[in-house]
Amino acid sequence: MVDQYMLEIRDLYVYFRVYEGISRVLDGVSLDVCKGERVGLAGETGCGKTVTMKTVMGALRIPPAIIPKGEVILDGQNVLKMSAKQLLQMKGTKVSMIFQDPMNALNPVFAVGTQLFDVIRFSNRHTSNGGKLSKKEILNRAITALDEVRLPDIKRILNSYPLELSGGMRQRVLIAMALVNGPSFLIADEPQTALDVTIGAQILDLLSELVRTKGISVLLITHNLGVIQETTERVNIMYAGQVAETAPTALLFENPKHPYSQGLLASVPRLTGGEIAEGIRGMVPDYTAVPSGCRFHPRCDHALPICSQKKPPLLLVEPDHLVGCWLYAKEGDAE
């Protein structure tokens, strides 16, 4: 049971000390990624997607961040209790990331090859066998990695600088960097947003194919619901630091239960045309003064008295479909 999960986030709270007081960003987030599963994390700007991701990577600066409660267990180890050295080791071998903007993620003053070699050397330094790699071995690994992401003319690419490559090629280089050390878990943060539709589709196809053949578990973070629908098996919808709903992707898109998920899905313009909905009234709350209870209740058309008093637990509405909303509570759930 334990080793079935690649990533388990249990009831995670993350606060930040800011000038105005305490910014309560994550409020009891629970989320899992099973081994070999591709999971989506969707939500709008400022809903805590990036904070969640940074916590998983151990990249939060403490202080200003405070983690009063919660566990992040990655492949059986609690990330929050790791030493700096263990964290480096984890990043070198087990976990990789793909960032949104490939231009910012690559260093403009070093050639692509230099940066890719660094990644390989870094990982090697932190693995248990730790011996020094020969230059030839490093080059071979780099070439294999670039070949896997179908980049043509690899010799030239190794010697070119990021600004000499197109956006799609840069993103391919980043994917190669993320996968070169054979990670078992990949966090992809909006991998296609900075790209054109046709190029973005190529990148997503490539990424899906690679992770499937290598059996890598993926957490895909994006605000684009279409991308989630096309690339993941499970999805978590997040709102203001709380997980609103989690279900297998197809199920959730067909039958969203949480009023926020419903509003969000109705706002997406469709290829089949038709009017789009009025959106969701109001705005994402200020985290220094968050609404009590369910954080969505001030914007919700179906709010009940209990919504402002008590945070809803994740309730099972149908097999494998959990919703954090009091509307679906049965008697006795409130206790």
Binding site: L265, P269, G279
Partner: protein, 352 residues
Amino acid sequence: MSESLLVVEGLVKRFPVRARTFHRQVGEVKAVESVSFDIKSSEIFGLVGESGSGKSTVGKTLLRIYKPTKGTIQFKGRDVTKLTKETLRFFRQQAQMVFQDPKSSLNPRRTIKSTIEESLIVHKVAKNGGARKKIVADRLAMVELSPNYMYKYPSMLSGGQRQRVAIARALALDPSFIVLDEPTSALDVSVQAKVIRLLQRLQAERQMAYLFISHDLSLMRTIASRTAVMYLGRIYELAATEDLFTNPLHPYTRTLISAVPVVSAEERQMKPKKQSHGGEIPSPINPPSGCAFHPRCSLAKQVCAQKLPDLAEVMAGHFVRCHIAIDALSANTRKIHLVDSAKEARNKIKRR
């Protein structure tokens, strides 16, 4: 309704590429190459394409932000390309623009009031401060913001509110034509939905025409009545939006539509098969010969690399620039009307 507000004929915009030493011209970026279309009064005309297709350049050239290299732009019967400084002022009252990122298009050191009222001062619309303030409050009300926002600064507003202010600024002079250059691409979906609804409502109430520029095909489907697909500075397909999405004829249009990530099963069903084997948009400094899409097209034949196909009207109101689509349709129906020269094609668009 069917009267053309704006007629663009053979619009060309090239930017010089200069060498670092002596600023010698060493090449040209062919941003827009012979684009012709018309926009009817109170119509939302969509322009889609990937980055580098020249869609924003078209928008900016229409408003004379850039001076066109060649071609004519007729606005209410007057040629905008020939306007002088004085007559341009009249045109600028009629035609306005909303930019993509409201964070950078609003001056951070000006209050909302001073941003909206500037055009009123420049065009001497309102005589005194009181009258101006009234107009500003009125325009804010149009975009569903309360007059309290007048003395705020852009940094105090959310992204959606900032874009509303940018729209209010465009409305200040009561224009009949607005160029919307990706007005919602910096916004979240639920906020985008609200801004799009607002834009639709304003357009219907005030009978304005929009040129809506976007790379988001699903959004285009929702908002535009006619849509043109641009690739490397040329229009490759132009049709009523409904037609374009249910019956896309150009391989590029099909590839674009097939690449859109969608949320529902119905959408997945209507997606055409992609007709491209990958690749990226080529450089507009040195575009491919013939049809610019041929290096990426999976149907390409020899002729595609040699000759640029004409933009032909293959069905009523449905124009396509593709040898293969035109041949296939002419073999099937024989009804198609091949337009020989670019000039005739232009006249045809004008007449419609």
